[in-house]
């Protein structure tokens, strides 16, 4: 897994590539925490390079979303989600909890 982060005026863009599993998901959780600890709660997660995400990774997304949505201060928006990953989100009923958009440009434009 590789993660890159870019801070925009109105949101933070996180790009994740490769596998998010029990080995790598703590690193993604740590990055979300760093962003939120800095008082920024509008986050775009670009999933275009995401090849695989296990339940451990899905919970990282849910936990970040819980924090961001608290007090209506922001949210995590998912961009460019592959059908297979969307399938996993759908199976466990996580789809309604996230806005999912076509690409990072559209996602960044939401904020």
């Amino acid at each position: 897994m590789e993660i890159t982060q870019k801070q925009y005026k109105h949101c933070d863009l996180v790009q994740v590539t490769g596998r998010v599993d029990s080995q790598t998901s703590p690193q993604l959780a740590e990055l979300f925490k760093t962003i939120m600890d800095a008082g920024r709660f509008k986050i775009v997660l670009d999933c275009s390079g995401l090849e695989f995400i296990s339940s451990a990774g899905l919970w990282v997304l849910v936990n970040a979303q819980k924090q961001c949505k608290r007090y209506n201060r922001g949210e995590v928006v998912l961009a460019a989600v592959d059908d297979r990953i969307r399938g996993s989100l759908d199976l466990v009923g996580f789809i309604p909890y996230f806005r999912i958009v076509a690409d990072q440009t559209e996602a960044v434009g939401l904020f």
Binding site: S22, Q23, F52, G93, Y97
Partner: protein
């Protein structure tokens, strides 16, 4: 049969072995992904629940293909795992009210047509997961 240390760092290698074998067995990309997810979740459960922590044993992984099905056998030497002890996941409560965890076995059962656990001689568990090549639509 390939043996891996029971660590989270092994997940990518175990999944790679299974992905390759499932592709050779003729599954499409979506099915390969579902099989990979089942195996990743199964191995993470072995590490967390059978062994209770990382680095306390091995995971042996074997993939078998028949004309009708694809079978994965995962074997550990940890504690016996009883799937009946695992509560059904909560898939209906609002997401923010759900408790973390509990989706591993669910993804295993969704991705595979048969999932069974049996105690090994001595110690540990043998997990056999079968995916039929022609699958009824769920």
């Amino acid at each position: 049969m390939t043996t891996y240390p029971a660590t989270f760092a092994s997940l990518a290698s175990i999944c790679s072995q299974v992905r390759q074998a499932a592709s050779v067995a003729g599954f499409d990309q979506q099915s390969v992904y579902e099989i990979e997810l089942a195996v990743d979740e199964a191995c993470a459960n072995i590490i967390e629940h059978s062994y209770g922590a990382e680095g306390l044993g091995d995971i042996r992984c074997d993939c078998l293909e028949s004309p009708d099905s694809f079978t994965i056998i995962l074997q550990d030497t940890g504690c016996c795992f009883n799937p009946e002890d695992v509560p059904e996941p909560d898939l209906v409560s609002p997401v923010e009210k759900r408790h973390e965890g509990g989706l591993g076995l669910f993804f295993m059962r969704q991705g595979m047509d048969e999932v069974h656990f049996e105690p090994c001689e001595g110690s540990g568990t043998r997990l056999t997961m079968v995916r039929n090549k022609k699958r009824k639509t769920r």
